[in-house]
Amino acid sequence: MLKKILIANRGEIAVRIIRACQELGIATVAVYSEIDRDAMHTQIADEAVCIGPAKSQDSYLNMQNIISATVLTGAQAIHPGFGFLSENSKFAKMCEECNIVFIGPDAETIDNMGNKAKAREIMIKAGVPVIPGTEGAVEGLEDAFKEAKRIGFPVMIKASAGGGGRGIRVVKEKSEFNKAFETAQTEARVAFGDDTMYIEKFIEDPRHVEFQILGDNFGNILYLGERDCSIQRRNQKVLEEAPSPVMTEELRKKMGETAVRAAKAVNYKNAGTIEFLLDKHGDFYFMEMNTRIQVEHPITEMVTGTDLLKEQIKIASGHEIAFKQEDIKISGHAIECRINAENPDKGFRPSPGQIKALNFPGGIGVRIDSAVFQGYVIPPTYDSMIAKLIVYGRDREEALNKMKRALGEFVIEGVDTNIDFQYKILNNESFIQGKYNTGFINKEFKL
């Protein structure tokens, strides 16, 4: 087992990783930017190294400083969390070169799956259903338009290097295509430094259903059920639940096995997620693969009774996954609400500042993943997440009621939060019936 791990991240995921390490008896090294000197992850780790000023570019994205910190403290492995360097194949390669275990898949896998157009190609070859679209990237505007006509409008223009909802445009009419393509391409160039684009058929109002994958270094790959993440505002997830209200045993088996096939096609190691679009006819299509642990991993943990972070560490330490596919049972229902420091009435404007009063909810089946404490100042330089509130009930109804109850106990003063907005979702008739898709927030709240 690894003896010392450096956590190349911050906030609640850094705390999550440190917790898993502490429970496994592994020494932890936190890295922090100057503004995170008093952050929770910095304080609870065994050692902490300052890696630069507040700006992410100079600290949490500073590969050189992070590698130096690893060598300095003698850490054997780096857990990159999510975001930051977690899907940076160059960083993963650097770790390999320095004999540092990168807790995640191989650099080559990250490269292949990180390029959305390339990933599509690989999936098509592996016989995984993909959204009808171009095979690989398009060669410029003319080619793109030709392909769009072939696929049939409405289409979605997407950036190969894209993520976080950027570099994407939906085009309903032919006449809007050229402009949309050019703006999407420019956006991609500016945001990701890569303007290769591809086209997909736009599937109207699908559900976003993703499958959790675990693979070890011995070729064993299995799936741990699904998460329904259709509740999104501007392609950012707001609320997630497991299992999906529309999932059947049969469909889960079909999609899960497809997910495993996709992961096997790239020799996947460690934790990952295959994102599918599920349309109203029950047909599903591969959308993309996230080669890291995800924000919403807790709901999978609750319904399968696993600790995904510990599994990641064990796999990285060279252990075979200790259970088989048939051992995985989905039981009960879990919901996660992302609590952010933002003001829904003011266009979800981020609201950094000091948390003057804080009370976390409690009770049976309530879990909080957070890095904030009373008196903590949420810095403006990073994302606005305050906490993830996760509830687990024996069925969906119990989970829903529990979430409403828990949100009621959640006290945060000093910053604005989206708790009221979460209430609106939970009290929405369509949501209560489980009848929603990715167009939900747009439709119900006109956002």
Partner: protein
Amino acid sequence: MGLFRKRKYITISNTKISDDDILGEQQPIIPDGMWVKCPKCGRILYNKDLEENQKVCGNCNAHIRLTARERIELTLDKGSFVEFDADMKSHNPLDFPEYEVKTTAMTEKTGINEAVITGMGTIGGKQTVIAVMDSHFMMASMGSVVGEKITRAIETATGKELPIIIFTASGGARMQEGMFSLMQMAKTSSALAKHDEKGLLYITVLTDPTTGGVTASFAMLGDIILSEPGALVGFAGRRVIQQTLQEELPEEFQSAEFLLQHGFIDKVVERAKLKDLLEQLLCT
């Protein structure tokens, strides 16, 4: 101040897993050469990034010195290079003490026999003779072998009616060979004169550093003289000139940009743009 009490963690006994030695003793090691310090701005650079950028510092644009082989790789079309006189080695005509030891050591260090690699190849499909001096070999000082190899390259170009491009770098004439070294200045220049008589094109690319006898001979004879940004180009050393003239010299003295201003070179070219420019020049 810390809200959380730092507790020395109590050893947790995980009997199911701890009785293994998988990865127990693995330590991080940074391999040699993975990180390189820029000689100009001191920024630490990742070697792969530096290579991808043709060994130009991404931070301050310092054009770090290339080896002759690296230069040929970057400039000529892939697979087109044919080398001349690869086995030519220096003797010790003046019986200069320690000279043979030095050249042997240099060959071991750099993997090449002398301070210049000559041959021919294509740039953008256009055939040309090329000579590239390598400052890593005894500061690319010019002795008999360097002079002879360059002269032969020029003569081959003259014979085949081809243009010639010479990438210069040098600390000056090779001391250990005395007059033989100085003679190379005349030898190379007269070979160039014959090349010129035939109306053929000679392009010099001055690289950092180009000084002494090389500057005073073939380096400044190009029909077109190019240079890399920030290259040191001069004849005598700065200090010697300062002492002789008893005058303060400007900061940028002997830089490529300074020479450009004073009409000694035709153009300062970024390394990334050099191949394209050479291709253009060869096509005219």
